[in-house]
Amino acid sequence: MAWVLNGVYLVVAVLFILGLKAMSSPRTARRGIAWAGVGMVLATVATLFVPGDRGLAYFEPGKTVNLVLLLVALILGGGVAAWLGRVVKMTDMPQMVAVYNGMGGGAAALIAAVEFTSEQPPTGLHAVLAMLGAFIGSVAFTGSVVAFCKLQGIMKKTFRLPAQNAGNVIHTMVTLLVGVAIVVWGPHWWLLVPFFALALFLGFALTAPIGGADMPVVISLLNAFTGLAVGLEGYVLQNPALIIAGIVVGAAGTLLTQLMAKAMNRPLTNVLFAPITGEAQAGG
């Protein structure tokens, strides 16, 4: 059974790559999203039949709760997101990309949380990668929420904490230190809770000082972050579909971010750190 699933994932990976390739040319762009869409439906349907200890995990006795929760989450999450995506104004599209990207990052962080709280938590390399994925995913989650709030006009001011630059470096290092402690000492709740809290707050601290006009570049960067987080969690779950799709998006997104910054005639470092050095105006 497992090989059928992995065969489907292979087809899905090919569809995603071809889809992205097609999307980078105006003539074939619409075909590209259709291919990627077919890939996503295939992947989702195939994953309903994940193997468990005794047959199919979702259809084992005693797993009814899991199946019900799955169906509710799929219909609720997918339905509301698709409906919102259809009814918002065309001019509000960038913030919709931001919010859906944030949800992907949050999902990656939650997968790590499930792994860390399981009876056999990941160890060694897997623990390191799960921790990094959780870190990057959490930053992408709150960062994207801030990006959404800025573009939507909910958050008009640019927050600037004292000594922002140095503060963010220390913040990042402390968060990663707690992460290392999780890897070394094991995933105790008194390490996991501060780790996730610090990582989530870091996403906020990094994006809050950046002005609304620069947000598309930031969203693109956070998009690459989410891709990387998804790829890392795919490594932990040993799932090639997640690794390939996640890392392809991570690399493509990084390149795309550079291209977008270049198109704005500003180096990327200027977009990200200008509010701190004060070189550019911090618009609302």
Partner: protein, 102 residues
């Protein structure tokens, strides 16, 4: 051994990602960002995997939220990208657009 193989996939995927969009015209930057946002919605597969093996109430809650967010990423990402690209075709001859931008 398996870990090393996954590392290979990791590396090759990074090169593919870089290569696949290296010649994208400026006009497609935002739709492509949206499209790649949809593609990492495959995190839904990982979420479903996690929820399938969830046992404690805490794990069920975390897995439920993971599927909820993953499904929103995938479904919302698709609709938004489709709408963006739809506006494109309505604008007329796409080839003329490329020539101008290139």
């Amino acid at each position: 051994m398996m870990d090393l193989l996954y590392l290979y996939i990791f590396l090759l995927a990074a090169f593919v990602g870089y290569e696949v969009i290296s010649r994208v015209p400026v006009i497609l930057h935002t739709p492509l960002m949206s499209g790649s946002n949809f593609v990492h919605g495959v995190v839904l597969v990982g979420s479903m995997w996690a929820l399938a093996h969830a046992e404690t109430p805490l794990q069920l809650v975390l897995g439920f939220l993971a599927v909820l967010l993953g499904a929103a990423n995938a479904a919302g990402g698709y609709v938004v990208t489709e709408r963006m690209l739809g506006m494109f075709a309505a604008k007329g001859d796409a080839r003329a657009v490329t020539r101008k931008e290139a």
